[in-house]
Amino acid sequence: MRHTISVLVENQPGVLARCAGLFARRGFNIESLAVSTTEAPQTSRMTIVVEGPEWVLEQISKQLYKLRDVIKVLDHTGDPVVSRELALIKVKAHPDARNEIMQVAAIFRSNIVDVAADTLIIEATGNEEKISALENLLAKHGIVEMVRTGKVVLVRGAKQT
C-alpha cells in the first residue's frame, strides 16, 4: 500500500541526508520525495510517498520522530488533501502527429513549453492520476525523456499542519 506523509523538519544542513539514510537502513521503500522551505524560514517540509504495510508506516513515523531535526510527521492516509506534482514530458512529434499531441495536451490543460523539429516538451501539473494518464496517452507517440517532481500535498480547508 502507498502512503503519503508530510514531514516538517528544521531547515538545517544534512537533514535530508539524515532522513534518507534512516529510510535506507530501516528498509523503508521511498517512491518519491519532494523537499523545500516553507512559509516559516526555519522550517522545511518534505513530502514522501512510501510503499509498505500499515505497521511499516507506524515505524517510519516513530523512527523519524527520534531525529532531533524532525518536528512533525503527518500521515495523510484518509485526509482530504490537495495533491499535485509537475511533469515535463519530451515527446516525439512529427508534423503529422503534432496536432493530436497538441489536442491531448489541451485536454489535460497542460502547456507546450518547447518546440523543436521532431519533439515537443509538455509541462503538466495535476494529481498523480492525471499525470500518469497523460503519460500513457503520449506513450504511443514515443516519450523521449520525462521528469516528475514527486508529489506535494496540503490538507484542505482551514486545518493547518
Binding site: 544534512g14 539524515r18 534512516l22 537502513r25 516513530k62 523512527q63 532531533r68
Partner: protein
Amino acid sequence: MMRMTGAQALLEGFKREGVEVIFGYPGGALLPISDALYHEQEIRHILVRHEQAAAHAADGYARATGKVGVCLATSGPGATNLVTGIATAYMDSIPLVAVTGQVVTAAIGRDSFQEADITGITMPITKHNYLVKDVRELPRVIKEAFYIASTGRRGPVLIDLPRDVAQAELDFEYPDKVELRGYQPQAKGHPLQVKKAAALIAGAERPVIIAGGGVVASEAADELAKFAELINTPVTATLMGKGVFPERNGLSLGMPGMHGTAYSNYALNGADVIIAAGMRFDDRVTGKLETFAPNAKFIHIDIDPAEIGKSVPPAVPIVGDVKLVLQALMKRLDQQDHSPWLAQIQEWKERYPLSYKGDGLKPQMIVEEIHKITGGDAIITTEVGQNQMWAAQFYPCQRPRRFLSSGGLGTMGYGFPAAIGAQVAFPDAVVWDIAGDGSIQMNIQELATAVANKLAVKVAILNNCYLGMVRQWQELFFGGRYSCVDVSCGMPNFVTLAEAYGAVGIRVEQEQEVRPALRKAMRVRDRPCLIDFRINREENVMPMVPAGGSIDQMMID
C-alpha cells in the same frame, strides 16, 4: 562572559556539564584542544593507546557512573577508529559525547590529509551529530549534545570540530536551557495505559517481569524490587539489565534467552502476562518471535516509542520512564500471591539448574571463584563470546551498574578498555574483565594505559586457544568443521606480555592453582594484572537455544 578560543570553550562547556574525565588520543586536527588541555587543572585527560579504547573507556565510565562518557579523537583515522565504540554505545543506549577534530573548514570536502566525513559515517550510529563551522555555535552545540545524549533513550552524540574553528575566538556564554522542537522525550506514562496495565496484572495467574537496560538508565532498581515483591512476580533480567534485580533474591530467574537459564525460558514460555520493563525484545532473548511466549499478553514499558510494537505486539503499551511508570503502577495495585506459579518455577529451577560437569580447568568454576573472592560485588566487564556468557551465567549480581558488557553490538575488545573506564570512575573499586584469548588481544595495547595511570584492573583470560563461540557453533551446527577459529599458533605468553608492559602476569593450568592466583591478583593494587587460565579447549556454553529456535526448545547439555 569571557573571550576565549573554541578549544577553551569546549573545555569550559565540559566543565559546565560536570565532566571530570575525558579519554582521548591526539593528532594534528586536535592541536588547539591539546594545547588548551596543557593548562587544564580540573578535567583529567586519560591518554589511551588506540582511539577505539577511548570510546570503550568512555562507555565503561558512563555505564558504571550513569554520567555522560566523553572521548576525544583527531580527524580522519582517529575519528574512524571511534566508530566501533560509538556503534557499541548506540546499540546499548549509553550516553556518550564523542568530539573529533576535523580539518580546517576550507579543506573540508577536498580529500584533505586526515579528512573523513565522520558526521556522514556516524549518522546511523549516533542520536545526532554536529559539524561546527562557526565558533559562536559551539556553546549551544555542547549543551545540546549533552542534553540529547543523557535524556530520553540515552545514546552517543558526536561533535566534529574543525581546527580553525577550535582556534577562532568567541565571547563565551553558556545557554541556560535547551529547547528543541524536534526532541522532547516523554517521561510520564499515560494514566489510562497505567490503569489498563494494573487491571491486567491484577488478573494474571502466571506473570513474569523482564527487566532490561532501561531500568538501569532510569535508576529504577528500588522500584523494580518493590514492584516485584508487591505483585509476587518472578523477574528475569536481560544481559543489559543484569544486577537490576538482586540475583540472589528468590524471585530472580537469572538471564533469559539464547544462553539464559532454562527456568527463565520455561517461565516466559508458560506466562500469561509478561511485564517488559526497559527491554527491547532483542532476538537473543526471544528466539523465534513466532513461538515466543505464545500464551502471554505483553505490557511493554519503554521510553522509546519506536520500540513499542517493533518486535512484539503489546496488549498494553506504556511510553515513559520506567521509574515513574512503576511508581504509578504500584499506586494502583495490591499485594498479590502467586504461590502455585512460583512453586512450578521452583520445580523448574531444581530440575534444570545452571550446571557444568567434567574434569580439567573449567571456565565456569573460574568465574564462580572470582565471584567468591570479590564477594559478588566487583565491577565486572566482559569481552564477547563464550567468556561473556559464562560471566553472565556464573557471576550473580546484586546491584546495577556492576556488569558492563557489550550486548547489542557484541564487540570483542570492549571489556578491557571499559574496565579501565570503570576503574577511573571508581579508583577504590575492584574491577575484573572476564575475557577470551581472542578478545583480549583486540585492545591489548591498553595495558600501557592501565600501567601509566596505575589502574589495578584484573583480567581473567579464559584461554582455550580458540575463538570459542564460533568454534562452538561449528561443532554443533557445521559438522565440527572448525574453520578460521584456531588461534593456538601465535598465542602469546601472556605472563611475559603483561610484564613487557610493566603489569603483572600469572599463568594457571590446573584447578588447584586458581585460588592462589586470584588471591595474588587481588593483592595487586597499583597496576593491571592478567591471568592466563588455560581452560578446556572444547568447553561449550549451555544451555543454548539454536539460532531461529524456540526458547522452550533448549539444548541443555
